[in-house]
């Protein structure tokens, strides 16, 4: 019997209940009125499932509600090999460390632009609105070639897509999800027409996906839309949340914050990874067994769903010392991978970009805003849901004067 029931109960922090499950029933059978699944909380067992993509499939959905995903919508995280492999192969170079390094200075400029909008002599602001959401949306819109005028709509639709993923009944979101698809279809079809009539298109990621040929065939517009929708919904709010959860963790651990401030550029990268390990945006995802199998000695029947609790694996004391503590200078080169970005063939495609954006955000905030802290009397509230760990809003305050831009 699992103590930890994130689908029905909102626990914050959840680590104690998770630790009890990890010790007593690391593969727990959970039976709810509308859901039945096995919940896995041990690092070795979660990674065993994630590495075994031949048995544990993504095509029946990876979020709380089981889905029957049409073939055209089986893209990336909603696809299995060989389909997944072909699609991902086309996209890895666009999100490679080399490509992300190349746009690093631009990401810094955009972060500086948003900090420039804050009151120069100190004040309060909401992190998500002021930077956390605006930065990743602007960057991915630029990469995709989405007009900047549309980016507020994009952010809203992206947030709705993610909120819809966390609940069993999506009917309340249906109209927005449909509007999002219609918008994207139009954008893709514009590129396809440009390609047909002129043989070329703008130098952006949508055109690159539209042009890409796999085994001599191009993606249909529905497939391209599904890929873009997934890039957005998997990449935007998660990065926003990464930044928010990380700032919250830094502020709640004054000794770690002091280490960071003493060596901002030296520790910002390990801070980001520790943020992902300690309280990453994606708390866990589902897989579906394609055959009868077993995990940790527990029989998993064919068709049964498995909930891999990434957050639980990343807090496993057999892998990470002081797992429930936020330690800003862990040497992640010497540690097994945390599961903040998942593991295996579906490892987060945008992880290099997310790391860069979060790192720039943290450096810029703490470099330029003296006395940055959580606003007096503000108590962050964890959103309910099994898939995401997010506080939604984070009110911050600082003393001013705002420091100079890093970039020109």
């Amino acid at each position: 019997m699992a103590q930890y029931q994130p689908v029905v109960e909102n626990l914050d922090p959840p680590w104690e209940a998770i630790a009890a499950d990890r010790r007593e029933c690391p593969v727990a059978h959970v039976s709810l009125p509308e859901q039945e699944y096995f919940q896995i909380t041990r690092y070795d067992l979660v990674t065993e499932v994630l590495r075994n993509h031949k048995v544990f499939s993504n095509i029946h959905g990876t979020t709380v509600a089981p889905e029957s995903i049409s073939e055209e919508e089986q893209v990336l995280a909603f696809a299995d090999p060989p389909r997944h492999t072909k699609q991902r192969r086309l996209l890895v170079s666009a999100f490679s460390p080399a490509r992300v390094d190349a746009i690093g200075p631009h990401i810094q400029q955009v972060a500086d632009d948003y900090v420039d909008l804050l009151p120069p002599d100190g004040g309060t602001f909401e992190l998500t609105t002021a930077l956390g959401a605006a930065l990743p949306v602007q960057i991915i819109c630029e990469m995709l070639g989405v007009p900047l005028d549309d980016r507020d709509d994009f952010r809203r639709w992206s947030e709705i897509s993610e909120r819809a993923a966390s609940v069993a009944d999506r009917s309340a979101f249906a109209a927005d999800l449909e509007a999002f698809s219609a918008y994207l279809t139009n954008l893709v079809e514009e590129r396809q027409r440009a390609l047909l009539t002129t043989g070329a298109g703008p130098d952006d990621l949508i055109t690159a996906i539209v042009k890409a040929e796999v085994d001599g065939e191009r993606f249909t517009s529905n497939e391209v839309v599904a890929i873009i929708r997934l890039l957005l919904s998997a990449g935007n709010t998660t990065t926003t949340t990464l930044i928010g959860n990380l700032v919250k963790a830094i502020e709640e651990h004054p000794a770690e914050k002091a280490k960071l401030l003493a060596d901002l550029e030296g520790l910002s990268m390990s801070a980001v990874d520790e943020g992902m390990r300690y309280d990453g945006p994606i708390h866990g995802l589902f897989r579906t067994a394609l055959t009868d199998t077993e995990i940790g000695g527990v029989a998993i029947p064919q068709g049964c769903r498995v909930f891999n609790v990434y957050g639980a694996a990343s807090h496993d004391p057999s892998v990470f010392d002081q797992p429930d503590d936020f330690v800003i200078d862990r040497d992640f080169d010497l540690l097994p991978s945390h599961l903040g970005f998942g593991m295996g063939i579906h490892h987060c495609l945008g992880s290099n970009l997310a790391r860069m954006e979060a790192r720039v955000a943290i450096e810029t905030l703490y470099r330029r805003l003296p006395g940055l802290r959580i606003a007096d009397d503000f108590v962050p509230q964890q959103y309910p849901g099994a898939i995401f760990r997010t506080y939604g809003q984070l009110q911050l305050q600082y003393d001013g004067p705002v420091g100079p831009r890093t970039s020109v």
Partner: protein, 84 residues
């Protein structure tokens, strides 16, 4: 797969070449976790260890590591020019 001008880690023998394309390698370390005798992570890039005992290396395991790499960064060539 690797072009000559891309930053690449290379190791192997006369009949077996392992390459890691550092332009896409993102340091997720799946290869190091599955084959710690061959791969080692340095500054977020997978390198091929200098002390590999190639006669003892499980070649099928190398191919599995290449297939499991989320970045398609690893290539394994078992005879000159023939990529597997």
């Amino acid at each position: 797969m690797s072009e000559p001008d891309r930053p690449t880690a290379v190791g192997g023998t006369a009949s077996l070449t392992v390459r890691v394309d550092h332009e896409v390698c993102s340091g997720t370390a799946h290869c190091q976790q599955s084959m710690p005798d061959v791969f080692v992570l340095v500054d977020r890039k997978a390198h091929i260890r200098a002390d590999v005992d190639w006669s003892a290396v499980d070649v099928a395991g190398l191919h599995d590591a290449a297939e499991a790499c989320p970045w398609f960064a690893i290539s394994v060539t078992t005879s000159p020019g023939e990529a597997h």
